[in-house]
Amino acid sequence: MPAVIQARDLCKKFGSQTALDHVNFTVQPGRIVGLIGPNGAGKTTALRAVLGLTSYDGTLEVLGREPFRERAALMSEASFIADVAVLPSWLSVDHAIEFVGGVHPRFRPDRARALLAKADIAGHRLMRELSKGMKTMAHLALTMAIDARLLVLDEPTLGLDILARRGFYDALVNEYMDDTRSILITTHQVEEVEGLLTDVLFIDQGRIVLDCSMKDIAARYAAIAVTDDKLAAARAEQPFHERPMLGKRILYFERPNFERLAAFGDVSTPTVADLFVAKLSRGASA
């Protein structure tokens, strides 16, 4: 199957500021890719380029289309949720279903209604009358009722409480995802999506600094908690980052010799969040 997203030398500048600096990445069908980076790293710009919301330089193909020129056509096969607060406040739930059903060839109103009923959201209510969590569920119901091949989520759970966030991701994985679809997601709540992701992309200052499948992370990276007496020997293995933890130091390694590392303590696979901090703490050995 051809790639869902293929970006080559993707660049975007806002005035003198470079938001995307020759970004390359590929998203294959059936993958859930987390695009992770600090504020201002270029995450949102990258997503907007993928969705045809912004112009760019370089080549970008999404579902075989050029997003900026063909946004309308692209949106019949891709869908996105920008964040919780974007459903128009004056729109009623019923009208939203009616409208999306009217303009979207792949929208299934009965499915949307079933999802809304499950979330106890009545059709006659206006979006402004719904709580933040309900609004998100309403938006998710509308989006999941679309047979899209690509779903893009930009901080989808911002401002939600933990129950709503969990509900959101459960619905996403159980009701939506299958192996013909792909999801591209950005979030600051890395721990929350870690279990879902099949791949991670780290972006920093407009560049991709890590492009790796979750499987490969275990093969490529190691973390190890080292006591002071073994610290010098462990450091000889050239960790790329370290931080103190309860009297020990945690050292992070890329492509280490796992056998030698085992001599210094328990070798573990770093979490995505730890890896993110390790990768992006520039030149820091805290």
């Binding site: 045809g52 112009s55 920008a82 974007v86 128009p88 009623s92 979207h104 989006t143």
Partner: protein, 296 residues
């Protein structure tokens, strides 16, 4: 159903004022006719009745037209701005609807749908008022103010005005859409400040008034282009003070619509087409701006 039909429907869902305002005006006028004092002096002669009917229809029409102009101005300025302000633009852009379709649907609502709603409200209100007033002036048969000739002429006048104003004011419409698609805030201010700046700057630095004349002509030059008599006074009933006289005018107070409409003159005026082309260019610019407004 077609995407455009849904987009127009959507505008009516969002902007309920499109029909609430004209309905409210019609309601108030009807109440006024029900409970106001009827000056019966015009009812003495058949000419007087005709004048009364014509004048009433015209005053009603003018009132609705003024309200419509204000509302359309506001609507066009707001239509590509509110969804950017509340960020719901991202929801609309997640649907397979091109920015061209979005902008054109709003243009259609501003230039066609809103005028038709006001037209219908003006019609309903004047017919109701004619009926109410006739009934209240006991001395007359109930249909005294029902003057089909006057009424039909008014229909022609309305339709003509809807079409010609849409063309004549296209550059202003386009300008408002550009501001609506572009401005980050204060759309009203942005709609008037640049033209004012051009007028003032031109006067200060060049001592000329080309911009002022162009804008003045566009705003107030419509009537002299679309009608073939000079608007010395208001379009008024025959025999009223200040009314121009029309040779061969029928007995009804309203000058026969086909005597004053000047479609040939309107369509052959270069200003009409220069304006229309400017308007189309501005609308195209608004579409381009809209395409680039997903990254705010």
């Amino acid at each position: 159903m077609n995407t455009y039909v849904w987009l127009v429907k959507r505008e009516f869902w969002e902007n309920r004022a499109i029909w609430i305002i004209p309905a409210a005006i019609a309601g108030l006028l009807t109440l006024g006719c029900l409970f106001g004092t009827v000056e019966a002096t015009f009812f003495d002669t058949p000419e007087g009745i005709g004048s009364m009917a014509g004048m009433m229809f015209l005053v009603f029409g003018a009132l609705f037209f003024a309200a419509m102009s204000l509302y359309s101005y506001w609507y066009l300025l707001d239509c590509l701005y509110t969804d950017r302000r509340d960020r719901s633009i991202l929801f609309w852009k997640s649907l397979p609807i091109s920015d061209t379709a979005t902008v054109l649907s709003k243009l259609f609502v501003g230039l066609v749908a809103i005028p038709i709603v006001y037209f219908a409200a003006a019609d309903a209100a004047s017919l109701l008022a004619a009926f109410v007033l006739s009934v209240r002036a006991h001395s007359l048969p109930a249909n005294a103010l029902w003057q089909p000739a006057v009424w039909l002429q008014l229909q022609a006048l309305w339709l003509y005005v809807i079409v010609t104003t849409a063309i004549w004011y296209l550059p202003i419409t386009g300008w408002l859409l550009v501001i609506s698609a572009w401005a980050k805030r204060a759309v009203m201010l942005w709609s008037v400040l640049p033209p004012l700046a051009v007028i003032l700057g031109e006067q200060l630095f060049l001592g000329t008034h080309v911009g002022l004349r162009l804008i003045d002509d566009r705003l107030f030059g419509y009537a002299s282009r679309a009608f073939n008599y000079s608007m010395q006074g208001p379009l008024w009933a025959d025999g009223m003070p200040g009314a121009p006289s029309f040779p061969g005018n029928p007995s009804f107070g309203l000058p026969a619509a086909w005597h004053i409409l000047d479609p040939a003159g309107f369509l052959s005026s270069p200003a009409t087409w220069i304006g229309a082309l400017t308007g189309i260019a501005l609308i195209a610019a608004a579409i381009q701006l809209r395409m680039r407004r997903g990254d705010q």
